[in-house]
Symmetry: C2
Subunit: 225 residues, 2 copies
Amino acid sequence: MNPARRIREEIAASIQSGEWRPGDRVPTEQELAARYGCARATVSKALGELAASGLVERRRKAGTFVAHPPVHSAVMTVPDLAELIAARGEAYRWELASLETADAGDDLAGPALRIEGVHMAAGEAFALERRFIALGEVPEAADADFARVAPGTWLLGHIPWTQARHVIRAVNPTRKEAALLTTGVGAACLELDRTTWRAGRVVTHVRQLFRGDRFDLVAEFNAGP
Amino acid sequence: MNPARRIREEIAASIQSGEWRPGDRVPTEQELAARYGCARATVSKALGELAASGLVERRRKAGTFVAHPPVHSAVMTVPDLAELIAARGEAYRWELASLETADAGDDLAGPALRIEGVHMAAGEAFALERRFIALGEVPEAADADFARVAPGTWLLGHIPWTQARHVIRAVNPTRKEAALLTTGVGAACLELDRTTWRAGRVVTHVRQLFRGDRFDLVAEFNAGP
DNA sequence: CCTCATATTATGTCTAGACATAATGGCGCA
DNA sequence: TGCGCCATTATGTCTAGACATAATATGAGG
């Protein structure tokens, strides 16, 4: 076993088991180097990685300490709907409802495509989608065939490395939305709002609406290495 | 500016601007070391950090490549309700409804506390909570005063470094729940289910129910260093 | 032309030492 | 006693070199 990895894992285990509690002091690099019989740089690397993963906190001169756990954070994975539905073993289809060039959404500067459509799973409506794509940021979108391919899927291959912000809420559908989702206005739906930036400018904004009884989101948190 | 930091930031900028596209090859450590006039170990550290943050992918012999962006992942922060409500400038209060020792929840081994109560904001019900606490894992919980302090708040100070899994869905409340939340059974509510582990064993399981028009979750994704 | 062994190469890890930096604790001075 | 300065100390960063490892590219043989 790598010395660095061994140090990392042993310290992580001490923390996760509760043996070392938040705020406790971790031995100094020198002590650990002596204990594990390796160079200080190796210990430093191991501790640096633990710090990067949030398990410990390092302060010059003061030393290394077991970090206080984050209040509650977790990594949520929002799958591509085509993949999600395929993974369920159901037939996926995208149905374009409307496509037009709108001028200026809320936070989109300049002209944008406004796309509405339905994600179908096994012949039934699975999710409604309304999307804006900033043409100033993704001019190729004007030539894409959104009747054939869902805009989300198309974008995946055309906009690398963006930032995103999701807002998740429970809403009641409008009468029209309820009809499209084959449910009633009194049935809870999950709304997912995602805004995507690149270099500080909005690339796309999408609102997806799911029937509450057909979809849920999962987020996980696993500390450490 | 640090050489390591400079390398990291320049490469990250090249990727985030879209100049280097997913799959593109990043110069080798030797080339970068020569270009930046530093040791290979320094370049290696910078690239290692970029790899840890997911921006590049490294394969032995093959080289370093711009990573393909994750389908869609984001970090969600689930605030402590007491803090959330206080941050809104409203008075927070926890109202215990029932507390009993139940034997075995779904995935809890052994005896557990079963706690029900309401989180109040400005005198109105903000969220319903039903929680199990595994007494085998947190025996001190038996002595805590859950009439005075909300179990979530209490646990924050008593169980360091756990893993967690959240399931988020939109549901309709039961008649009883609707009454407690002063709303109707046709009003969409957000349900948050959180299971918390330590060392592979369930510590606590909580279900929180929010009025859809009063609460939403936010998740963000920011790539890079 | 295909397959398998081998040489090459880029990353992975480590060392021993050096200097930088920042924060703390204590010492000296007022 | 109280304040501010300074030495100490732990981390932060870097170097030059070494060896390990794994995957690709190449060449030999079938």
